[in-house]
């Protein structure tokens, strides 16, 4: 029997904007990663201005959480301007670390802000322990692994190299080695390594063979056209394997995803980590955690490369399956204990008679049927139809600010 001296790994969540940052932390993330207005790959993920970063860091500090900035472009000559100022500013703002793929940026960061932690991004495809050792010797505290690495390989890396390992546990995946795909550059003249990826891997193609009798269409016009779309990663059923392999930071993908997605996914993994650490020997996965993950899932789910090499079963063919099955219906802004009324900001059409589910941090959940709604002027209404309208809703159990309401589609 192994003695368990492990410390809890960090649960690291994406935060596409300030609101998502707050929700991620509120629902239990130990750290979030965000994008600045320069040098990041998610040019349209609602990136943070320096002021917003300051606000985000102040919020995170209250909860003892960290904020990292992804500056993970593969730079071209003309992108090299302003790097020093950028990293210096991040350090002064109180950012805990930067996630970087291009050595030009690593160097600039270390020159401009020697105490700002630099983590190697997954875009650099760190896939073996010697690369980890190389960066360790360069003085970097952490590498984010390529998604092609197995649990066994991680274990070996941790045995051989004393460096923090960050690994993805949930979210969408490139089907290529990250950084080694320029389909988008070629098909759409948009640079995938500077944030322009057009998701060309998920398009439909026709596959042909050169045979002895000329060119044969293998997939032409059939409904099962050629494509290279990966299912999304989820380690919900196997998280202890990664923890025991020694992963230091468990990372959720998705800076473009909704607050509903971020809150739901973070909530589940928080619950799993905490439950596991309370009593590792008797830990058992609960069906309700798996069900909960599926409420935010956008594609079918796979464990990627963590166990066996992915096959066709880990790819998406044919018509996209209809996931998610839930809508984010409303956000709780306030709750009045006396009247049992919740103030709810509408995020999707809901109305009397709808079956809804409320949920909040610490895996708080209950279901109810909506019986009464009032609008801003305290007029009773049948349905909350207007985007972002403020309503009052009668609730069966107490709720609080940051709780959410979802409903089936």
């Amino acid at each position: 029997m192994t003695t368990r001296t492990r410390t809890k790994p960090e649960l690291l969540a994406p935060a596409g904007n300030l609101e998502k940052l707050k929700f991620a932390i509120h629902y239990g993330a130990d750290a979030v990663y965000i994008g600045g207005q320069q040098f990041g790959l998610r040019s349209n993920a609602g990136n943070f201005s320096y002021d917003e970063m300051r606000e985000g860091v102040a919020f995170a500090n209250k909860y003892n959480a960290k904020v990292y900035v992804a500056a993970n472009i593969i730079a071209h000559n003309e992108n090299l301007e302003g790097l020093h100022e950028f990293f210096k500013e991040l350090y002064e703002i109180g950012i805990s670390g930067v996630i970087v793929a291009d050595p030009a940026l690593i160097q600039a960061s270390r020159e401009a802000a020697p105490d700002l932690e630099v983590h190697i991004s997954t875009q650099a495809s760190v896939a073996n322990w010697k690369t980890a050792e190389f960066w360790k010797n360069e003085g970097l505290p952490r590498v984010v692994l390529a998604r092609e690495v197995s649990v066994e390989e991680i274990r070996e890396m941790k045995e051989k190299v004393d460096i923090e390992i960050e690994a993805f546990i949930h979210g969408a995946m490139c089907i290529s080695y990250s950084g080694r795909c320029v389909l988008s550059n070629h098909m759409s003249a948009r640079d995938a390594n500077r944030g322009g990826c057009a998701q060309s891997c998920r398009w439909k193609y026709d596959l042909f063979e050169d045979g002895t009798d000329g060119t044969v269409a293998v997939s032409d016009e059939s409904d099962e056209q050629y494509t290279m779309s990966s299912q999304d990663l989820s380690m919900v059923e196997h998280l202890p394997d990664l923890i025991e392999a020694g992963v230091d930071s468990l990372k959720i993908e998705g800076r473009m995803k909704s607050i509903h997605y971020v809150a739901t996914v973070v909530n589940v993994y928080r619950k799993i980590i905490d439950t596991y650490f309370e009593d590792p020997e008797n830990y058992q996965i609960q069906q309700e955690w798996i069900d909960e993950i599926w409420k935010a899932a956008q594609r079918s789910l796979t464990s990627g490369f963590y166990y066996d090499e992915p096959t066709e079963k880990d790819q998406l063919f044919g018509r996209p399956n209809r996931i998610p099955k839930y809508d984010f219906a409303g956000l709780v802004l306030d709750y009045d204990e006396e009247t049992q009324m919740a103030t709810i900001q509408q995020r999707n059409n809901f109305g009397i008679g709808d079956e809804v589910e409320f949920f909040g941090p610490n895996f708080y959940h209950f279901k109810q049927t909506i019986t009464a709604i009032w609008d801003e002027n305290d007029e009773p209404i049948e349905r909350a139809k207007h985007a972002m309208m403020i309503t009052k809703v009668k609730v069966d159990q107490p709720v609080e600010k940051f709780n959410m309401m979802r409903k089936g589609k």
Binding site: N79, A124, A127, I175, R180, D206, E309, E312
Partner: protein, 307 residues
């Protein structure tokens, strides 16, 4: 006069091709073993590399060995010995793109010159200077750069720079078996000896070769690069290595292509005015032997991209 002369490089499938391509005018031949290298036209054993090395050196030519896989822990078990063996064979250098190579060469005290070729990640001079401080001897630039960017990089580094000037370029690398998986999905038998390509939906004019090797699935560009008429600009910028990708082409084609580029380079070096008069003809000679399904173009060297 400086002693600058670009090195004309081409990949080869087997020993016979090594000889024919060198005799056609290549200065350096690229070979590889599929265990450690991506996208090899052939699969050279150490013994074959030895023979190729001896023969090429007797002709005053060079040999570089591709070890450009993305390494996993498994590769690391046999790679150090392999590198030591290559060093003993006195090959002229290795081509690698996995960051661990810097650590490995240092650990095993291997003095083989390293051509750093991280494919898509070789896009600016500061990055390359970072790697130069860690031991690269030469660097291959990414194909998705403008010629201006190539020239700017060359001006800002102090080591030799290589670029691809002809043939298809790699545009996608996955560790997964994405061709085999599809055959399994549609319940057809996968025959690994066939060559394949994909077309974009409703774009019948497109043609992207796709294949698997030991290190996964690779997709190649829609067009073949052909920079022959711009050799003047490339040579004026003193780019050091000019690479012809031979994969998925016949030896007859590659041999003619090498000979044409040899002639074009030598013409320009000897007499720029003569090159000027002949360059359209050079281009035409390539067009004449070009397979019907492979268009020619200049890649990203003169193309705008959105970032």
């Amino acid at each position: 006069m400086s002693s600058y002369k670009p090195e004309l490089q081409v990949s080869a499938r087997n020993l016979e091709e090594v000889k024919r391509l060198a005799q056609a005018g290549a200065d350096a031949i690229f070979v590889g073993n599929q265990q450690f290298a991506n996208r090899q036209p052939g699969d050279f054993s150490l013994f074959e590399i030895k023979e190729a090395t001896e023969w090429l050196h007797s002709q005053g030519k060079k040999i570089y060995v591709m070890v450009n896989a993305i390494y996993h822990n498994e590769h690391l078990e046999s790679l150090p010995t392999y590198l030591k063996d290559l060093e003993q064979l006195k090959v002229d250098g290795i081509v690698a793109g996995d960051q661990s190579i810097y650590q490995i060469l240092r650990d095993i005290k291997c003095s083989l010159p390293l051509t750093w070729d991280p494919e898509t990640l070789s896009t600016n001079y500061q990055t390359l200077n970072f790697w130069a401080q860690r031991g690269l001897s030469r660097a291959t630039l990414s194909n998705e750069l403008s010629l201006d960017a190539v020239i700017k990089i060359k001006e800002n580094v102090h080591f030799p720079i290589e670029m691809q000037i002809h043939g298809m370029t790699n545009i996608f690398h996955s560790k997964r078996k994405l061709v085999r998986n599809y055959y399994a999905q549609i319940d057809e038998t996968y025959d690994r000896s066939k060559t394949r390509f994909i077309k974009e939906n409703r774009k019948p004019e497109t043609h992207y070769p796709i294949f698997e090797d030991l290190n996964g699935t690779h997709i190649m560009s829609n067009e073949d690069l052909a920079m022959i008429e711009y050799l003047d600009q490339i040579i004026d910028a003193k780019i050091d290595g000019l690479y012809i990708e031979g994969i998925l082409k016949t030896i007859d084609y590659n041999e003619k292509i090498v000979a044409l580029y040899r002639e074009a380079i030598d013409t320009y070096l000897a007499d720029p005015a003569a090159f000027e008069t002949k360059k359209t003809a050079f281009k035409q000679m390539i067009a004449d032997i070009q397979p019907d399904d492979r268009q020619l173009n200049t890649g990203f060297y003169f193309k705008e991209q959105i970032d």
